[in-house]
Amino acid sequence: MAISERPSVPALAGNGGSAYVTPSSSMGVFRRPVSTTGWRSWVFTVDHKKLGIMYGVVAMTFFVIGGCEALLIRLQLAAPNNKVLSAGAYNQMFTMHATTMVFLFVMPMAAAFANYLVPLQIGARDVAFPRLNAFGFWCFLFGGIFLNTSWFLGGASDSGWFAYAPNTSVAFSPSHGVDFWALGLQITGIASLTGAINLIVTVLNMRAPGMSLMKMPIFTWMILVVQFLLLFAIPVITVALFLLSFQRNFGAAFFSVEKGADPLLWQHLFWIFGHPEVYILVLPAFGIVSEVLPVFSKKPLFGYKFVVFSGAAIGFLGWGVWAHHMFASGLGPVSVAVFSVATMAIALPTGVKIVNWTMTLWGGKLSFTTAMLFATGLIIEFTIGGLSGVTHAVSPSDTQQTDTYYIVAHFHYVLFGGAVFGLFAGFYYWWPKVFGKLLNERLGKWNFWLMVIGMNLTFGPMHILGLQGQPRRMQVWTDFRAGEGFFNLAFWNRVASVGSFVLALGILFFLINVLYTAKKAEIAPLDPWDARSLEWMTTSPPKEHNFDAIPHVHELDEFFHRKYEEDEATGEIRQIATYEDIMAEEMAHADKHFHMPSPSYWPIILALGLPIVAYGIIFQRILAVGGAVVILLAMFGWSLEPSVADESDYEPPTDGGTTKELATLG
C-alpha cells in the first residue's frame, strides 16, 4: 500500500490553505513532487478529495456536451422530415449522446462521489492505492478527450452506443469513428477497473475501528456493490472492444459473417456488460438518496438491512437478465422465457428499495431542501421507469416495444429520473462538505422544478410515441405515419422537443447556482443538515488527512447517535451534544502522525501514453510505438519511485492554516 509515514505536521494544518510543505530545489527523475498549491498540486495529486473534485468537474463538462447533443437530436425530431442534422450527423449524435452520458458523465460522476466520500464515510485518510486512483482519473480524462476528438478527425462513431456487429465493420462504417469509440472506451474502462479494485480494497480494509459492514453508511454499501459489478463487467466490454479493434484495424474476423462468425456474439458480450452497467449507473444514485432521505426525515433509513441486501441481490440478479435486451434477436422461446422471468424477479429487490424510501418518509419530520426534493422526485420518477420496465419484462410485449421510443422513455426515467436525480440530490447535499458553502436554495428550487417539469415533458410523451410505433434511432419521421387525434406523433414529438429545452434551462440554473455560490463569501456551518454519518464529523472541506483523529464507531449513523439519544422511558429523542462539542472532542485527541501519500508525476504520464498508442493504431503505427515507450518509461518510473517524498523535500512545518481552521469551525 502506498500509504506511508510522512514527516510530522501539526494536527491543525489546513488543506488548500497556506502550504505546510514547499518543494526544495533539488532535481531528479525519481523524486516525488511535493507541491500543495498551484496547478501542480492538482495535476500530480493523489489526494482522493482533489481527484473526486476533478472527476466531478470533468464529468459535468461532459454532461453539458452530451446535453447539447441531446438538444440537437430533439431539434431534428421536432418536425417531420426535418433537416437540422443529416442522416450521418444524426447517427453520430445519438451514438455520442449515449456514450457521453453513460461513460463520461454518470459513471465518472458516481466515481467523483465515491472517491470523495467513501474514505470520509468509513473514517479513512485516503484510498488504498492513491497513485492508482490518480491514474484512473487521468485515463478517464484522456479517454474522454480522445473519444471526442473523433468529431474533428473524420467523424464520430455512427453505430450507436450498442454498436451491433456487423454494422461496426469497416465496410459498413468506413470512417474512423468506431475506432475512436472502441479505443476510447478501452481507455476509460481502465479508470473504472482500477477505481473498482481501489475502492473494494479501501472499503474492505480501511474502515474505522468499530465499523462493521452492517454499520457502514448505505452510500458506501451501494458503491461497494457497484465496484464489484464494475470489476466483473468492465473486463467483458473490454474484451468485446478489443476484438472489435482487432476486427477493424488488424483484419481479424470475430464478427465477419462471411467467415462464419455469428453476429449475436457481440450482442451477448455487450449486454453481459450492458445490463450490469445499468445498475452501475443507478445504484450510486440509490445510495445517495438513501443518505439524503433519512437526514431530511430525521429518521434512520427504514429497513437498512433490506436495502443493503436488496442492493446486493440486484448486484447478483443483474448478471442473469442481459438477454432481455435481445428478445427480438431470435434466441428461441426457452431462453426468452428464462430471461423474461429473471427480469421480472429483479423487479422485487428494486421494489424493496422504493418501499423502504417511502417508509423512511413515513412518520418523519420532513424538510424539503433541494436535496430532499430531488430525492423524493427520484422515488416517483424511478418508479415510473421501473414499472415500464415490468411491461417489457413481458417478452411478447417487449417485441412490440423494443427499439421504439417507449424504451427511450423507460430508460430515461430510470437513468435521468433515477441516476441523474440522485446525483443532483448529492450535489446539493454534499456541496457544503466539499466546498464549504451551501448552494443557493432559491436557485435550487428553480433548478429542481424546471428539471422535473422538463424531464416529464421530454420523456413522458416518449411513452406515447413508442406505443404509437415510432422507432428509435431514426433521423426522420413522416407526417403520413404520424396519425391524427390525441396521440398523434407530430404533437408529442414537439412537446418532447420543447421539454428538452425546459430541462436544459433547469440544468443551466444549476450551473448558475454553482457560480453564484462560488462568488458568495458566506461559509456554511460544519453540520448544516444535522447529518448522520462520519463524513460530517470533520471540517468542510476536510483537511488533507480527513480526520484529526480516526473516529471509533459504535453505531450505524454514528454522528447522529453522538448528537442525540433516545429516552428509554418515553422514547423521546433529545440532543446530548452539538457538533461543535463532538468536533472539539475529536480535535483534542488528534493523532500526532498522519500517514499520507505523496503526490506523483507518474500516473498522469502513464495515462498520457494510452491515447498516443490509440492515435497510433488509427493513423500511424509508429506513433503507437512511441506511446508504448511512454507507458513503459512511466511504469519504470512508477515502480522505482520512493513511496514518499524525501524529508529534505519539505520545509519545516509552519503554523500556517491554524487560524483559518478555527475560523471555519466557528
Binding site: N167, G330, V341, S395, D403, L467
Partner: protein, 403 residues
C-alpha cells in the same frame, strides 16, 4: 355562489375538456404503427397479454405516488418532535415483497404461455422468405401449395403481400447487417440476422394495408427502411400471384417506353432485374447485383407499378390523395382497389424522377467511391447515374408500364 360551487366549477371545465378530448381521440385515427390496435391473431395475443400489465403498472404507480404524496403533506416539518429512530419492520418488508412477487407470478405465467404460442411454426399455412439489406426488404415466395398455391418463385420488394386470414410464416434473414422486421398491427418484431434464418408468424384478419419500419439500427439510411404489409382476400391474392407470374410484355416498338427499355438494359439492368426482358441481341438480360452492390441484391423491378412505393417503401409512386384513399379503403373493397396498382390518374412520378436524377441525394446512401474502398468499390445503395432529363423521361415511361 358558495365556495363549494366555485370549486366544482373550477374542476368542471378541465374535466369536460379532458372528457371531450378522450371522446374525440377515440374518433381520430391513431398512427398506422399503433401497437395497441392489433389487426391479427398474433398481435392480438400480445395485446391481450399486455393490457392487464399496463393496468397493474398504472395502479402500482398511483398507489406509490399517493403514499409518497401523503407523506409529503402529512409529515412535513411543522415543528414536531424528532421521530423515534425505528430501523424498520421486517414483517411489513416481507409482506411488501411477497405481494409484488405474487403479482409477478400472475404476469409471468401467461407471459411464458403466450411466448410459446407465438413461437409455434407447425400450423402455418403459407411461407414467405423475407431478406433485409441496406436499406430495403426483399420478399421471396417459394413454390408451395400454401398461400393458395404458388407455381413459380416470386421475388418482389417494398410491399409484403399476404392472403388475409391465413397463418403466414416469414423466414427472415439478412444479407449484410442486422435489421428487424416489424408490422406492429400484425405481430412484434423479429431481427433479421445475417447467417441465420429466423421465423415470425403473421396473420391479418382483414384485407388492408399495414405499416411497418425497420427497427434495428442498420446504418446510414435506417430511418428510410420502411415496410408495408398488404393483405388481400383469397381471390385477390390469387390474381396478384397470377399477375406477378405473367409473362413479360415488351413496350410497343418505337415508343418512348421502348427507348426506355433499351436505356434500362444499358443503364439499370446490371443490377436491377426485370424478369423476361431481352437484350438487343435477343438473349435474356440477367442482372448481376452481386458484382456491383455490397449486399449482393437490389429490388426486382418486374412489377414495380403493382406496388405503390419504391426505394425501401420510403417514397411513393402515387399522389398523396390516392395514397390516403388506398389506406382508408374499407376492407371489403380493399383487394380490388389495391390490385388496380398505380393507376394513370394516381401516378405521381415526382419522387421517382428525383430518384433517377440523383438517388443518394434523395435517400442517404454510400455511393461516394472514397467510402467504398473497404467494399472493393461495391456500392451500398444506388449511385447517381448522371442521367439526362431526356433519359429520365424515357426510363419513367418504361417503368410506369411495369404492372
Amino acid at each position: 355562489m358558495t365556495t363549494n360551487q366555485t370549486r366544482h366549477r373550477r374542476w368542471a371545465l378541465p374535466l369536460a375538456g379532458f372528457g371531450a378530448l378522450v371522446v374525440l381521440s377515440g374518433c381520430a385515427k391513431d398512427a398506422p404503427q399503433d401497437t395497441w390496435q392489433p389487426a391479427g391473431d398474433n398481435a392480438r395475443k400480445i395485446d391481450n397479454l399486455q393490457q392487464p400489465v399496463f393496468m397493474i403498472a398504472g395502479l402500482v404507480l398511483v398507489i406509490v405516488a399517493a403514499v409518497v404524496g401523503y407523506c409529503v403533506f402529512k409529515f412535513r416539518d411543522k415543528g414536531q418532535a424528532i421521530p423515534q429512530q425505528s430501523h424498520g419492520k421486517p414483517a411489513l418488508e416481507i409482506a411488501l415483497t411477497i405481494i409484488p412477487a405474487l403479482i409477478l407470478v400472475g404476469i409471468g405465467i401467461p407471459t411464458v404461455n403466450t411466448l410459446f404460442k407465438l413461437a409455434k411454426t407447425s400450423d402455418t399455412q403459407c411461407v414467405v422468405n423475407v431478406t433485409g439489406q441496406q436499406w430495403w426488404w426483399e420478399y421471396d415466395y417459394p413454390v408451395q401449395d400454401g398461400c393458395g398455391g404458388i407455381s413459380a418463385p416470386i421475388v418482389t420488394s417494398g410491399q409484403l403481400v399476404i392472403p388475409a386470414g391465413q397463418k403466414v410464416l416469414l423466414r427472415i434473414s439478412s444479407r449484410d447487417v442486422i435489421h428487424s422486421y416489424w408490422i406492429p398491427k400484425l405481430n412484434g418484431k423479429r431481427d433479421a440476422v445475417p447467417g441465420r434464418v429466423q421465423t415470425l408468424r403473421l396473420q391479418a384478419d382483414q384485407p388492408g394495408i399495414y405499416a411497418g419500419q425497420c427497427t434495428e439500427f442498420c446504418g446510414l439510411s435506417h430511418a428510410y427502411m420502411r415496410m408495408e404489409a398488404v393483405s388481400l382476400d383469397a381471390a385477390g391474392f390469387k390474381s396478384w400471384v397470377e399477375n406477378q407470374l405473367a409473362p413479360y410484355e415488351a413496350p410497343a416498338a418505337g415508343s418512348t417506353a421502348s427507348q426506355g427499355e433499351a436505356l434500362f438494359v444499358s443503364q439499370c439492368s446490371r443490377c436491377h432485374q426485370v424478369n423476361g426482358i431481352l437484350g438487343a441481341d435477343g438473349t435474356p438480360v440477367i442482372s448481376r447485383p452481386d458484382k456491383y452492390v455490397y449486399s449482393g441484391a437490389v429490388p426486382n423491378l418486374t412489377n414495380l407499378m403493382t406496388r405503390t412505393t419504391f426505394a425501401g417503401a420510403a417514397y411513393d409512386l402515387m399522389t398523396q390523395d390516392c395514397k390516403t384513399a388506398l389506406w382508408n379503403t374499407p376492407s371489403a373493397q380493399f383487394s380490388a382497389k389495391y390490385l388496380e396498382g398505380v393507376s394513370p390518374e394516381c401516378l405521381d412520378t415526382v419522387q421517382l424522377r428525383q430518384w433517377l436524377r440523383n438517388a443518394p441525394a434523395k435517400k442517404p446512401m454510400y455511393a461516394d467511391p472514397a467510402k467504398l474502398v473497404e467494399t472493393g468499390g461495391k456500392y451500398r445503395g444506388m449511385p447517381n447515374l448522371g442521367l439526362t432529363e431526356d433519359q429520365i423521361d424515357k426510363l419513367i415511361s418504361y417503368l410506369t408500364e411495369r404492372k
